[in-house]
């Protein structure tokens, strides 16, 4: 059985990286008494796919993971039983079975929505203008690890909401926008912010 779990990653888990989160899911499911399915081969690994790595320090409001269990036709496990086995900072939002042969979760992510809270008082003044100016530009040429790219087409939405900055950035393979880069364009030091990934946007499912 393949399960799709949506969850929030908050609190102390903000500071836990992608590989460690993998291990946390593995142990959580094991504590919940679920029979994890393992890969074949010399080093069998539990089959767990996390949709998209969440950068260190980001809060995840609605992240997604797919896990495979060795059972098939039984009813899916209850959300509460998994939640009871989860560490502080991992909050389950939904548990749904998905088609065993559905495409890999990582390939389905197209965009992500972020919310950026500014920690310095008054830092939001004039941001509405700045955001509009940025969106008005044709292109935003930048460098990432020595490679040039254009940030502008990766920004699908950007607006100041009075208390925070909302943005939707492309998150497809080879075309991923990062909130820090947008903040840099806006002249906001990243250490003065708290960034939340509000949700991941998947390709529409083809039935």
């Amino acid at each position: 059985m393949r399960l799709r779990i949506t969850f929030a990653k908050t609190g102390p888990l903000r500071y836990i990286g992608h590989l460690d989160l993998h291990k946390i899911w593995e142990r959580t499911l094991r504590r919940a008494g679920l029979p994890l399915a393992y890969s074949q081969g010399f080093h069998p690994q539990p089959k767990i796919q996390i949709a998209a790595a969440l950068p260190l320090g980001f809060v995840g409001r609605e992240e997604i993971v797919d896990v495979w269990l060795e059972t098939d036709d039984s009813p899916p496990p209850a959300l509460d039983s998994i939640q009871a086995a989860a560490p502080p900072g991992l909050t389950l939002l939904s548990v749904t079975p998905v088609a065993e042969r559905a495409p890999a979760l990582q390939t389905q992510v197209v965009a992500a929505e972020y919310r950026v809270v500014l920690l310095e008082a008054g830092a939001g003044s004039g941001l509405e203008r700045k955001a509009a100016d940025l969106l008005a530009k044709e292109s935003l040429p930048r460098q990432r690890r020595g490679k040039s790219y254009d940030l502008r087409p990766l920004i699908q939405a950007l607006e100041w909401q009075g208390d925070s900055l909302r943005m939707i950035l492309s998150a497809a393979e080879g075309a991923t926008g990062r909130p820090e880069e947008v903040l840099d364009e806006l002249g906001i030091p990243v250490e003065n912010t708290r960034i939340e990934r509000v949700r991941l946007i998947l390709k529409p499912a083809i039935e």
Binding site: P12, G57, A85
Partner: protein, 653 residues
């Protein structure tokens, strides 16, 4: 001190600028966060190295559970920040804080350091400094937490006597409660309405109470007198009820093993469950500190171990289980245990490790039963390679037995064999060192016969330190030049692409030796070395040897005095007022037997009267049977009104 909210706010600004911020945030499954104001006593445990090393410390896990099981107390944890985080903490005024509630350590009633080995000492000073506390015990007053320490290194507490208010000697499971009770009692007597800091207590009164607890050593109540040559003349208690010899604590029956292990959210060293199957060792290897100070042997039952393992696996979801003891093969029902664990966890993707196996083919059978699939390595510890040396250290395994075990290991598909040796044993010559190289080559030849070029040998060679409380405590250790000569020989001899040789740098060994054999005068050296920048001395690449040599020079002490000097049989050692229960007379006799090349068999077969039984006769009487591996005590209990009974009644008043 900053409030938890202020500390958290400052942390948020720095955490993303350091490596592995997950070390500094807590939030692990099974960490315990209690309401600060609902308990009378608050304790912080500190492992004085980074999180990655400290979390898996079994001793602290045991004590953390015990304290938090009390409704009237809480225990939280702190570890040393790595260099990058330390710099950020100092720059941003963040004091050392507890992971659970982000409280400054200075807000706790007591701070307990775990000191399993000596090269953590400068980190203790660094922790106190980061906590904003005066380093020296004498400089702390009623407004400061009590600072205690325990662990194997504390069997020679003298080098750290300036900094630690009270040491726990031996096993902590019972005495921790007595200490918390004493803190609570003195605190309730001392606190007055309107105290600025509610945890203020009368320090002098508390230390006097602690000094009367069996197994607790309060160094300020002991005067040390020296002879002109620098050796100890006398250590004298200055309080009428402080004992002249502090006998270690020993729990007659091991309490149930912990099962709700902390589950770290990041990858750490030894990310595993650990269940002690047995405490103590009857082998009597003469170099072994642990083997001498953890007597008597007490074995848990197979049922208790399997039930605890099951509960721990369910509670944590961890994927590795270590069955710990000093000598697994000596655990009486080892075959039953391995069979039961194998059956219990078959097909459950649990890796089980069983360290410290005897070198024989039975061990290979045991390991095979535990493995779902063949792992890469198998580890054995011959410690010495010539027959003469093996007699001297009392670990006598004939070459043929080692080769037979190696043959079996390679034949059953393990590709890497790791062998542990020690150089520098008393009276060792270059021939004895050459024997190590020769044995390694013969073992590898067995591997090649079975596996061809796939066979690998890893030789780990450490350097002997004559540790306190062992039969070798009278021996001089090798000088730096001697150590280098021996290591060079091995490096020359073991040049082979299938052999990996690793060794301990002489500087690391010398530092550990000075710190483990030091007297109270070493306090000034440790302080000076820390001021010179020494910290993380246990991390080879962080060790600043020059910081230590210049500290010794500044204090007018010669480090060679502590390590390279053979001792007179009647020399009084700095740790002689601390008793492991094993008599000094017994150790000396065993040392003499060693020099005569006489081995002593396992003391399960024949009691050699090491002193443990008379020291703990009452405990043995109260716990008859096979649980202890010492003979039973037949003599009647001493008449009432013994010393301890008098002590107990006066204690209650």
């Amino acid at each position: 001190m900053l409030s938890p909210a202020e500390i958290e706010a400052r942390l948020e600004r720095v955490l993303l600028t350091v490596q592995k911020p997950g070390r500094y945030v807590g939030g692990e499954l099974h960490s315990v966060v209690k309401d600060w104001d609902s308990v009378a006593v608050r304790m912080a445990f500190v492992f004085p190295d980074i999180y990655d090393i400290g979390v898996s410390n079994l001793g602290l896990q045991i004590l953390y559970d015990l304290v938090n099981a009390r409704p009237d107390a809480l225990a939280e944890r702190a570890y040393l920040p790595w260099l990058d985080m330390e710099a950020k903490m100092r720059a941003n005024g963040i004091p050392l804080y507890s992971l659970e509630s982000k409280r400054a350590l200075a807000d706790f009633d007591l701070i307990g350091f775990s000191l399993p080995y000596e090269t953590l000492y400068t980190n203790v000073l660094n922790a106190l400094d980061l906590a904003g506390l005066p380093l020296r015990s004498a400089e702390r007053d009623d407004s400061h937490p009590l600072v205690i320490a325990g662990g194997h290194a504390c069997f020679n507490p003298e080098p750290m006597a300036d900094f630690i208010d009270a040491f726990v000697i031996g096993e902590g499971e019972e005495v921790i409660h007595e200490i918390l009770d004493a803190v609570q009692r003195v605190k309730s007597q001392s606190s007055k309405v309107g105290d600025v800091r509610p945890s203020t207590f009368n320090r002098e009164k508390l230390l006097r109470e602690l000094a009367r607890l069996p197994g607790v050593y309060v160094p300020r109540f002991y005067d040390v007198a020296y002879f002109d040559d620098g050796t100890i003349r006398a250590v004298t208690p200055t309080l009428p009820d402080a004992p002249s010899v502090i006998l270690k604590r020993m729990v007659a029956r091991l309490p149930p093993p912990p099962t709700r292990f902390l589950v770290p959210n990041i990858d750490i060293v030894h990310n595993r469950l650990a269940i002690e199957i047995m405490r103590g060792c009857t082998r009597g290897c003469r170099f072994c500190h642990a083997g001498m100070i953890t007597r008597p042997v007490r074995e848990r039952s197979v049922d208790e171990i399997v039930a605890a393992a099951e509960a721990a696996v369910r509670a944590t979801g961890l994927e590795e289980l270590a069955l710990l003891s000093l000598s697994s093969s000596d655990y009486t029902p080892i075959l039953d245990l391995v069979t039961a664990i194998g059956e219990q966890f078959a097909g459950r993707h649990l890796t089980v490790s069983l360290p410290s196996l005897r070198i024989d083919t039975v061990s290979v059978d045991l390991m095979e039963r535990l493995k779902d699939r063949r792992a890469g390595g198998f580890t054995l510890a011959p410690e010495a390679a010539s027959e003469r040396m093996r007699r001297i250290i009392n670990k006598f395994i004939p070459d043929e037995q080692i080769l037979a075990a190696a043959r079996e290991i390679f034949a059953r598909g393990w590709t890497t064999l790791k062998l542990y040796f020690m150089i520098g044993h008393p009276s060792e010559t270059l021939e004895d060192v050459q024997a190590i190289a020769d044995l390694c080559k013969r073992v590898l030849a067995e591997g090649r016969r079975a596996l061809g070029g796939r066979a690998k040998l890893h030789a780990g060679v450490s350097t002997f330190i004559p540790k306190p409380h062992t039969p070798f405590q009278w021996a001089a250790m090798d000088t730096e030049a001697q150590i280098r000569l021996k290591q060079d020989l091995l490096k020359r001899q073991l040049r082979d692409r299938s052999i990996k040789l690793s060794w301990t740098e002489p500087e690391e060994t010398l530092l550990e030796a000075w710190l483990s054999r030091g007297d109270r005068r070493l306090g000034a050296v440790i302080l000076a070395a820390w001021r010179n920048g020494a910290k993380f001395d246990a991390w080879g690449d962080q060790l600043r040897f020059d910081a230590w040599t210049s500290a010794f020079a500044a204090c007018g002490l010669d480090p060679a005095f502590y390590t390279h000097r053979p001792r007179r049989p009647d020399e009084r050692f700095p740790w002689d007022h601390i008793s492991s229960g094993v008599r000094k007379k017994y150790l000396l006799e065993d040392y003499r037997r060693s020099l005569a090349g006489e081995i002593r068999a396992d003391c399960r077969e024949n009691c050699y009267a090491c002193g443990i039984l008379p020291a703990f006769a009452d405990e043995r009487r109260a716990h008859p049977g096979l649980y202890w591996k010492c003979p039973e005590v037949k003599s009647p209990k001493k008449p009432a009104l013994s010393d301890s009974a008098v002590g107990d009644s006066s204690f209650a008043t």
